[in-house]
Structures are given as structure tokens and as C-alpha cells.
Symmetry: D2
Subunit: 339 residues, 4 copies
């Protein structure tokens, strides 16, 4: 890593999320997109075109480079643990998309193997870097609303993923809710109880897959905080992403985002805004940029990455507990994970 | 006037505005609706039914009663000066709808004749009693936004009055804008200059009547305050009634009122409220009640009525000045009215 | 009951809620406040003053009157069943405040005794008559947002009741949440599962009473609908009463109510509204009036009262189930109540 | 101009506005920042550092380059006409900040000299590219609100420029209002009358300079449209930039922008947003990017630039007319400018 040169980055995955990272790396003054890795080499080549990056098909070609500074892992979930391990063993900083893995045992094994390794490792819970949610978290932490008592998270995707994706997703709790579970932990890190309920109200193939299309999760924090998460796999009016932090002295809320501030007034109604930003690529565009910048800064300054590997593990534990609660009808207690 | 009995009130006029006052008098604990006066006696009878009030056709029958405490004048404009004069000469408190008269000379003569008469006389500029505008006026007066610098009034009726009404109305400045001119004076009592412009953009019979359907008025206060009034005789989305007071330290605004707080979110748009309250009867329902209560209190306590006769005169002077400015293209200076 | 005379009403209870009803009865054209009943006769007398009503200490004096048309029961909870029974046995219409009783067995016995009795009996779940919530319910019922999938209710009181009240209240679920449970049933009448969690985060005497100060309840309807209720016994910014109905085609929400539409803009922040209406007396003033009117109309037209006795029973069953779930950590299934 | 290479751009001026353009040029895929020109060479060098651009002190060095494709003129106003002329005579596309010049005769002479010259020339009225205002303009043009009748523009700067700037600014009408006058023309291109009033309410050195600190302008369009512009040189709550288009069928409005969607609720007030974005650099960041992109596209496609030179001239004519009206108290008619 040279102090005078941008950090050389390899990006794994040329899909939807890889494209977001590619653009952001290209625009970041301290990052250089050097390699794009995808076994589907055409995808890598298309994305690399005009960026100066090299398109390669295998991770080996990347880790062989001595000047590799960081990897960003946006490839399929089942590659995450392996790529994290390789990056960490090479002392190469990594930013990995969630989830670490759908299999808790693999995640724990990976964590054990990383014990004591100081290489920067960040988990891609990008919503922590959303300026709206981050502002609330900072203001709550500063005591602006007194003691935090209740947190309300409403999070609805615009439309369900295709059937093939749903089947491989690990289910709504591990695929969709996990973002909100991490958001809950952003405000209330120590969750002690999980309740959840799920239903099927609109999507046949989700039901046939044995998954829910709509869920509600209630969490209790060790300080008595109550967190509710309301999820749906669809929303007629765009990506519905809201959060309210209620405390002893007041409340802070973050609303949805329309593309403009324009309001319409007519015989049929007044003050109507546009439909909200359609999905996470638009809604969290700034969050992805801020996340990348935090990653670059953590590498440069040597400070700990946040969120880190353990946050990925904890979110997965909560997602599993929610699934268990929804299946059994029982509140699930969360024990301390022994490292 | 008995301290233990409600004040006995005669209401002149059984039209739209008379009906508002009749209901409010009936509901007021310190007022008794004793007479309803209308030469169109059927109207008076219909309105009197079930109220205990007596329907009479002529003012004479009313002023002959020794126990008459107050009159509320909601009859046609050309009766106002005469009824005010009679009430004042009988020592009977009066609340008179705006305008006092369309003829400035008659108004001035009436004022001269009332010189020194202490009988309570209130002008029905009901919007001063609207809780939203009144709250802003009080907060501005308290210094909450520092020195008042600019006042923005937007005031649009839902639809133009019928042609017959327009022809007798005295024109948009004396009929519609006069409310806003008084509102301007509620915040900036001493207006020194008037500019106005009018156009015809949607209503043929208003144009044929030689009147404008849309106007803008700019006022300058003696302290350099700038007031803009934007009027239209129509509005597709309900009664548009807004006000913003801008000061050196901040701003206070009052928005329109929808019938409920309900918002709609769908594929076509988000956060849509209902159309606004349709017209002044709904929009200013609370203002009319508060106005009546202030009138009753002024009678009971012997304090000066506000707004009073002079406010009616000043508003008319400003309306005339606006008309002159719109016709001549010249700024009109407002001199001190010599009493 | 005379068709030409207002209905003669006896009001039980001269406390806070009795005072609301007394004012509304007095203002209602088809109701006459004839008796106010309170063993604390001074309270009854004070409230009766100036209304023409007779203050009496015992129910016997009221039910002895052959011209009694209706009773409104706003006396303590433990008097409700007895007064309902007496009214029904006299064929006198009744509007009873919630809850019917805290003891489910008494409620069931009362219901059994009323089997077949056609006398109008309305339960005082006044929030169903709130114009904002009622508008949403009607629009959802009309299909405006497609199939209802999720309902989010946030309901926070401004401050906890005094310790003595808390001890006799039956607990937060039966005292506070019961309104929201009925609201849930207003939208989703057939609830099949209840989950709840409670915590103590701010009020010692509530904790010492073995009660919760903050709870979250999740309900599942027979159609797969998910309802979340978030309650707190306090709120720094006024009575927090919100509802969102989310459906397959969109969403309808109702927000909180500030006393005016005024917004403040300054160096410290922008668009700031006033604190919300402080508590239910202000927030639900219109709901109480509408409720009373619906009661009068049901009596006049002979149509069934809604909400009725069974709604009171169902809400209590849900409150009990929520309590059980919060205590055991298990989801409670709601069986069909056998009449 | 090569089709395969980004357009080579020279930027005149390294001040505040030059810095905005420099960043945006660097980020634009079809533009290359080749030269930064400033007689204050240190400024040019600082801005050029790390961009690959060459810092030069004189325009001669730039126009000598055969591969110069475009210039962006962000230097002082008195250099504009000369730089425009040189660019046009070299066939080099130009984007010039407003105003063209403060002297109408110079502007007219410049226009005459450009007669028939097809080289792209864009005027930097960046607000036309603001996504909020542009969306409204497009929706009005599409007929969404019927015929446009009234346009309300409120535009307040956060704080007055320093005295030295004020003295050279040409006055509030030509310096600040000119943006709003062009915005008026964006909606109502053909303005036929101008009224204006100005006052001094808060800033001594502006008054001493013979300028106003607060003005109101009313414009009339050839179709009877009424436009009001309210300006102040200060605003306690950030850059106040709003617009409302009122038509026969409804209204479209664009509000101010806070940095986040966060709202605060507490004992002192509810729904409070953050102070608005402080000034034009933040508020119009996206507008500047869109403007630059439109400029690049106009060059590439050979389509006419909009806004163009004539828009700059018309805005200046309106600013002069407003000044004249404010000084004389007379409405000023706008004649057709003869080319």
C-alpha cells in the first residue's frame, strides 16, 4: 500500500451490486479499480470497459498480485467465506456484501480462523451509511431524545425477487430482514429476545417455496428497548424504507425519498409527491458511496471496520432466531455468542 | 343588558352568512338569538325554526325592543351603513360584515357621525380570528421571528361567484382582496404604498363586467415591510388560503386545511392529501365562532372592538388604491386619513 | 320515545369522560340531558348546572322514569355490567364506555343474559368514529388499496396515569392497548393469533405494580393480515396516535394532529409544527361527537349499534391473550367464542 | 473536436463558481478539463492540482490551442462579453455565467456581432436544470395543470454578500433577481409588463450603496399570466428557493431542501426538519451537473443551446425594467427587442 497512490482494488462480481461498487470505486479519489473478477468473464469485461480495470475470471489471478490492497466481494453468497479467508490470509482488506454465509457453522468456523488477524474486514450493511439513518443514530447516541425506548423499522421491497432467487435466498429473514436486523443492532447492539410472525398474502411461488412474503419481527434489547420490524416483499409505491427512534424525551424519524420535492394539487387531491425511489440502488446510492469511503478510510487509518465480521454473524443469528420464532410461535432468547 | 341573562341578539340577513351566525349564536352560552330580520320573510322563518328566534321583516320591529343588546349585520352591503347608524344611535352593539359600504364617501360620513359614540362596533373581518393566522400574528408580535420584513398572502376562492353577484360586488379588490388587505393590516397596520396588477385568464363574464379574475397586490408598510397578495377567483383544489410571515430571525407559515390527516400512497404518487376544505364556510368555521365570542366579550367587558370601524375604512381605502394602481399602472401612496 | 321530542338521556358519571359526554349531549339536537347520576353528588350537581339536567345520586332514581330513552355509562368500570343489565332489562338504549368489565367471566355472563334482547347497546370504542381513522377504514373497505396486508398502529399516551389508577386499571393491555386492539378489529375483525412483548423502561411504580410501561403486540388475521400495535404510557410530544393500512395496491396513513397548521423556520430547524394535541379529550373530541350521533341515529332507526357488546368482549379476549403472550413468550391462538 | 475523445475544455475563473465547474467537468465522461485560466495564477494552479489541467494566466494561451473545444466562463462579469466574442470568433462553444454584462448596450452590441454565428453559446442560468423546477416546467408544458395562470417564486439568499461585492454587483435586480426573472421566463417566455418595489429593512451598507435588500417584482405575461418574485438578501433558515405554478386545473410546487429527511418531535415542537441547504453551491449542485451535461450534449448534437444568449439579454432587460419600476413607481412595459 503506497501512501501516494490510490489503493488498488479488486472487485468480485459484475452483477447489479458489482456495478454499483465499480462506479463508486471509479469516482473515489483514493481507490483504483484494478481488477474485476467474474467467472462469467463477459460480465467482467463489459463492466471493466472504459475503467482501466482488468477483467479476470478467477480469484487466483487477483491474489497473485503483490500490489493488491483491497477486495470488494459482491459475488454470490456461497463464495463469501472463501474469498474473505483468502483476502485475510493475504493481509488484503475486504469489504464483503451481506450475508457472510447462510450456514451459521461456516460463519463461526470462518470467525474462529480469523481470530487475531488485524486485516481490515468490513461487512456491507450499507444502510448504516445512509445519511438519514446515520444522522438519527448519531443524534440518539448524543442523547437528543433521552433514553431510547422503542425503534420502529418499516422496510418493504418494491416487488419480490424472481422464484429462482427466492429459492436460493435463504428466506425472507436471512435475505431481506437481515438488513433491518442489523439496523436494529446499529441502535440497540445487544438484543436478548426475538419474536416473529410470517404470513403469505400475495405471492404464490414464495409460499410454494415454504417462505413468507410478509413478516413482523419484535426484538427486545438488554435495556428493555423494543424494536419492531415490518417487512413485505412488495410495495406499490416504491421502496418503503422508514425508521423511527422513540425515546424518553422525544422522537426522530426518517421518511421515504421521492425523486423531487414537487407536490401536486388538483381536484383529486393535494400535496401529492411522486412515487418513491424505486429500489435500493437509487434509495441507498449515497449509502454505498459513504460505505466505500468509510472502508477506504479504515484501511488508511488502521482503525477497526464498522460494521465488521461479528455484526454479520449477529445479524444472521437474529435472522435464524426470527425464523425459529415464526415457525414455533415461541419467543427465542439470544445467548451470548462465545468466541 | 342583564348580567345574568344571555345577550339578546338580532341577526340581519338569513342568507349564507346569516346561517353561519345563527348556528354560532345558538351555540354560544352568552348569546340568545332573539330576532332574525329579513325582508324575504320566508328565509327568516326557515332559519328561525327551532331556534326560538322571532322572524321579522323589518328593522323597525327590532330596534323598538328595549331589551335588544346586539345586532349582527349579515344583510346586503347597501344596508350596512344604515343599520350601523341605527344600532349605534340606539346604543346597541353591532357586528357588521365587510365591507361597510362600497362608497368611500358614505363610509367617511358614517364614521364622522359615530365620532365619540362608545357603543361597541366590530367589523366582520373574521380571518383575524382564524386560529392559524391569529397564532402567527401573536407569535410575530411576540418577536419570535425578529423584525417582520415580508408577508406573503395567497388567497384563492374555489370558483367565481355568479355573474349577478360579480356585477354588484364592487370588483375583486373590494370584494375578495379586501379580506387579504385587512389581513395585511393585521400584521402591518400602517401601509404607505400600494401596487397592483390584474388580468383576465379564465372567466368571460368577469372580463365583460370590466373586472379582473386574477390579481396581485404589493403593499409597503411604513417600516419597509413588503406584503404580497395573490388572488384568484378560482382554484381547482379547494379554498387556497395561506400566509407566510418572514422576519429577520425566521419565518412562520400557515398552510391549507384538508378535512382529515389521511395520506394516500400508490403507484401514481405518494403522500397525497384530500382536496382542501371547499370554501370559507368550512375553512373559517372556527374563525366565525371565535369572532362571535370576541364580540360577546367586548360587549361584556366594555373593551374596544378589534377589528373596528376604522379597520373597515382602511381596508376599503387599500382596495380602492389597488384598483387605481391596476388601472393606471402607478404606485398609489396612502395618506393618513384625517378623522 | 317520542318522535317529536329529543331523546331523554341519563348520564352516569361526572368525571372526565362524563364531562365530555355532557357537553356533547347538550349540543346534540336530538338528545336532551335529563339526568346526571353520580354517588358523588357534588360532581353531578356541578356538571348539571346550567344544563337543565337533574343531578341524582343513584341509578334507581333514573330507571324509575318512564320517559328515560337512553343511558350513557361513564361511571367506573366495575359498575358497567350492572348498569348495562338494568338498562337492557328496562328496554333503555345504552352507550357504555370500555371496558365492559375486567373479568371475562362476568362479561360472558352478561352477554348470555342479553341473548335476544333487541335494545340498542353500543360500546364506547370512540376511535372508530375518529374522522381520520374512519375515513381510512371506509377507503380500505372500498378496495382503494387492494387487499389489506399489514396494519401499523402506534399509540402512545402523553404520560402514565397516577399509581392508584394503574393499580386498578387491569394493566396496560386491558386499559390502553384495548383501544388499539379494537381498532385492529375495525380493520381485521377476525384475529386468529396474538403475540406480545412488554418492558419497563421509564416508570418505577408501573413496574412495581407488575405491569409494563411499553408493549408491542402483533396480531394475525384469518386472511394472513399482520397487525402491529406499539404502545407506550408516555410521549414527550403529545398524544401519539397514528395508523397505517398497507395493501396490495397502496397505503393509507393518518398522522397526528397539531392545534394549528403553523410551521416554524429558523436557524435551529425548519417546518416545525406545534406539539400535538395533548391527550384523548382533545385528540378525539370529534370522535366523541360522532359516536354520540351514531348512537342517537341507531336508536332512532332501530339499526344495530356498532361497535356493540361483542366487540367489547372480543377486544377483552385479545387483551387477555396479549397479556398471556407477554408473560409466557408464546403465541396465543384465538378460538371462536361460542355464544 | 474528436468523436472518440472527450471535449477539451478551458475554464475561465478559479473562484467559487469555477471550483464547481472544475469538479463537474472532471466527473463528466465526455469532458476533459484541459486549461484553467485566471490572472490570479495561484488560484488557477491550486484548482488545477490533481486534475491534469494546465493553469494559465491569460486567455491568449488558451485560444491559441487548435484542439480547444469549449470554454466555460466563470470569470468576473466585465470579462464576459470579450470572452464570449473570442470564443465565438474561434468557433469554440461557450457556457457563460450570468449576467452577460451589466451594460445593456454592450450586450446588444455583442449580440449584433454574433448574428448568424452557429457556434454553441449557452447562458449559465443553472436553475433551469434544477430537477425540481425542471420537472414542474415539463409538467406544466405537458398541460398537467391546464393553462398556467400564476407563478409564485420565493427566492432568498442566506446572507448578503460583502459590501465590496454589493457595490460591483449591479444591484439586487441584476445580481439576485435575474435568476428568478429567467425562471419566470422559463415558464412564461413573453413578459409584457414589470412592476417592482424595493425596501431596506436590515442591511445598512446595502442601503448606503443605494441598493435594496428586499424586493418584490410582479410580471405580466402576454397570455395574462401573473408572476410574483419575492427576494431578500438574507434568510435565517438557509437558502429559500421555492416555486409554485398555479393553473386552471391545479398547482405544482417545489419546496426547499433539507440535508436529510430526518424530523424531530419533542416537547417544544414536532415534525421539525433540519435547516435547509445553506446556499446555491449545495442547493443547485445537481443543477450545475445537469447544465454541464446539457452543454456537452448541445455541442455533440449541434442542437441549439437553451438557455442561450437571448435569454441572458431578456433577463437583463427585465432586471432593468424592475429597477426602473422600483425607482419611479410606474409599471414598465416591455417592448419587443429588435434584433
Amino acid at each position: 500500500m503506497s501512501e501516494n497512490q490510490p489503493l488498488k482494488v479488486a472487485l468480485f462480481g459484475s452483477g447489479r451490486i458489482g456495478q454499483v461498487h465499480a462506479r463508486n470505486i471509479a469516482a473515489h479519489p483514493d481507490l483504483e479499480l484494478a481488477w474485476i473478477v467474474d467467472p462469467f468473464i463477459e460480465g467482467a469485461r463489459t463492466l471493466a470497459a472504459g475503467t482501466g480495470a482488468q477483467a479476470v475470471a478467477s480469484a487466483d489471478e487477483v491474489f497473485a498480485n503483490a500490489d493488491l490492497d483491497a477486495v470488494i466481494i459482491g459475488s454470490p453468497t456461497n463464495t463469501h467465506v472463501d474469498l474473505i479467508s483468502r483476502a485475510m490470509s493475504h493481509g488484503v482488506a475486504a469489504l464483503c456484501e451481506k450475508p457472510i454465509d447462510l450456514d451459521l457453522d461456516r460463519v463461526r468456523a470462518c470467525r474462529a480462523s480469523l481470530e487475531g488477524n488485524p486485516t481490515p474486514l468490513m461487512l456491507g450493511f450499507n444502510r448504516r451509511f445512509d445519511p438519514h439513518f446515520a444522522a438519527i443514530q448519531a443524534r440518539v447516541a448524543s442523547g437528543e431524545i433521552g433514553r431510547l425506548e422503542q425503534l420502529t423499522i418499516i422496510s418493504r421491497d418494491p416487488a419480490p425477487a424472481p422464484e429462482a432467487y427466492i429459492l436460493a435466498s435463504g428466506g425472507i429473514f436471512r435475505d431481506q430482514s437481515i438488513h433491518d436486523l442489523d439496523m436494529a443492532r446499529f441502535f440497540v447492539p445487544d438484543i436478548v429476545e426475538v419474536q416473529a410472525t410470517g404470513t403469505n398474502v400475495f405471492c404464490d411461488y414464495i409460499e410454494e417455496a415454504g417462505d413468507f412474503d410478509s413478516v413482523v419481527i419484535t426484538l427486545k434489547g438488554s435495556g428493555g428497548e423494543l424494536v419492531t420490524i415490518t417487512n413485505s416483499r412488495h410495495s406499490a409505491f416504491g421502496h418503503d424504507q422508514r425508521l423511527e427512534a422513540f425515546g424518553s424525551d422525544g422522537m426522530l424519524s426518517a421518511g421515504n425519498m421521492a425523486p423531487t420535492t414537487v407536490r401536486k394539487y388538483g381536484a383529486a387531491g393535494t400535496e401529492g409527491a411522486d412515487p418513491y425511489l424505486p429500489f435500493f440502488l437509487e434509495r441507498y446510492a449515497e449509502a454505498y458511496r459513504n460505505e466505500l469511503d468509510a472502508f477506504a478510510q479504515a484501511i488508511r487509518t488502521g482503525t477497526a471496520c464498522s460494521p465488521g465480521f461479528d455484526d454479520g454473524l449477529q445479524a444472521l443469528l437474529l435472522a435464524n432466531a426470527a425464523e425459529e420464532s415464526a415457525r414455533t410461535g415461541r419467543t427465542v432468547k439470544i445467548g451470548k455468542e462465545q468466541p
